[in-house]
């Protein structure tokens, strides 16, 4: 499998994209809801609703990433 054809590059991009999406989505939870609020006045801190939706999105992305990796490796 060489890199002179677009197929392997597209696959590699997709795998990196899936992994990266999960990583930075989870990081956002800690950045905006743990780290940043310490530096903000109470009136500017995020609410719990934002956190719930963000967690749901992270969970969905994680499931999609797992499904993708299982599919490309032929396990399902």
């Amino acid at each position: 499998m060489g890199f002179s054809e677009p197929g392997p590059l597209i696959l590699l991009s997709a795998v990196i994209g899936f992994v990266g999406t999960v990583l930075f989505s989870v990081a956002l939870i800690f950045l905006n809801h743990v780290y940043l609020p310490r530096h903000l006045p109470p009136g500017a801190r995020p609410g719990k609703v934002n956190l719930v939706f963000l967690c749901l999105a992270c969970f969905a992305y994680a499931l999609l990433a797992i499904a993708y990796l299982l599919t490309v490796t032929g396990m399902i």
Partner: protein, 380 residues
Amino acid sequence: MPESQAWGTLPPYKKAPLPPLPSMLAALGPGVIFMALAQGSGELIWWPYIIAKYGLTFLFLLLPACLLQFPVTYEIGRYTLLTGESIFQGFIRLHRTFAFILWILMTLSFLWFGAFAAAGGTSLAALTNFPPGWTAKGQTLFWCYTLMLVFLTAILLSKVIYQLVETFMWGVALLTLVGLIWASANTEALQALPAFAKGLFIPQLPMPRPWDRADATKLLTAITFAGLGGFWTLFYSYWIRDKGSGMAHYMGRLTGPITGKAEAIPASGFTPGNDEGLAHVRRWHRFLFWDISIGIGGNLLTTLMTCLLAYALLFPKGLLPAGYELAVVQSRFFEVSWGGLGRILFLIIAAAFLSDTWLATVDAVSRIHTDCLCAFFPRT
């Protein structure tokens, strides 16, 4: 002489009052770039492919796929709104090793983004058949490099680089929206509309064709990367910053090297103080909500139209071109339905869909590299 800064650290946030929202209309812009950039191969190729092959079986996944990115995009925008810093600077503050790994992954994923200029070049080559006598590959490369040169020149000559990107993306967004609305206003598409609208919420079962396992990765990719997707989602932070939204008001802008006036860009951002500026928090959050809604809503609308065209024109005929042939077949349908003008319209839309990705990507990726280089390799 300033103390040397450890790698992967940023100076502490400074305090400043949160400025008022100028007006909702004046503040909008990042969402339009979002919409224009989000229009790409997923919207032009993969979702129409799934519809052309399986009819309305999977259409009900489109709406949740587009909405899935809303919370993530909102949080990315909110960090920049409340600090003026880019999201990568935020990740560096959070955990520098994690940010370094993420930077490496991002770099790898964008090593070959020149392909988007090539994809736009393919459409322009098909449209113009110029230079005459060249092979298809030669013509594609000609237009690819021409597009890169045109965009590079525009960036170098611009006063404020973000303004150039936003103005161009407004044009692309309007062109594709108007073009697709016009293209969708044909008899076959309008007749298919009621069934299509129902399929948005209720899957059509049984499947009109047997499930092909090889399509699993296409479907998963189409869902996950609906809209911006992947590392592109992080770009939203940079548009918010250069638009000067919220606390980004205190950060400088990237200006063109020839006609632009240099602006100082602080090494770290500002957080709101406990002062009268807090009265503007809700309005800024409301702006963020509407700006992202324009991006996601606009992208959803254009994807729905490309899917409707696939459902109305390709699915009934059992036509299933492979990969990028789909765009070529779609252009032929436009030609049959609306003559040469229709084919030209489609190829222009396809070129806009794909080549604007290069402009937005080259701008945002270079900003990310700058942030990371300045933080990970500080001057001592």
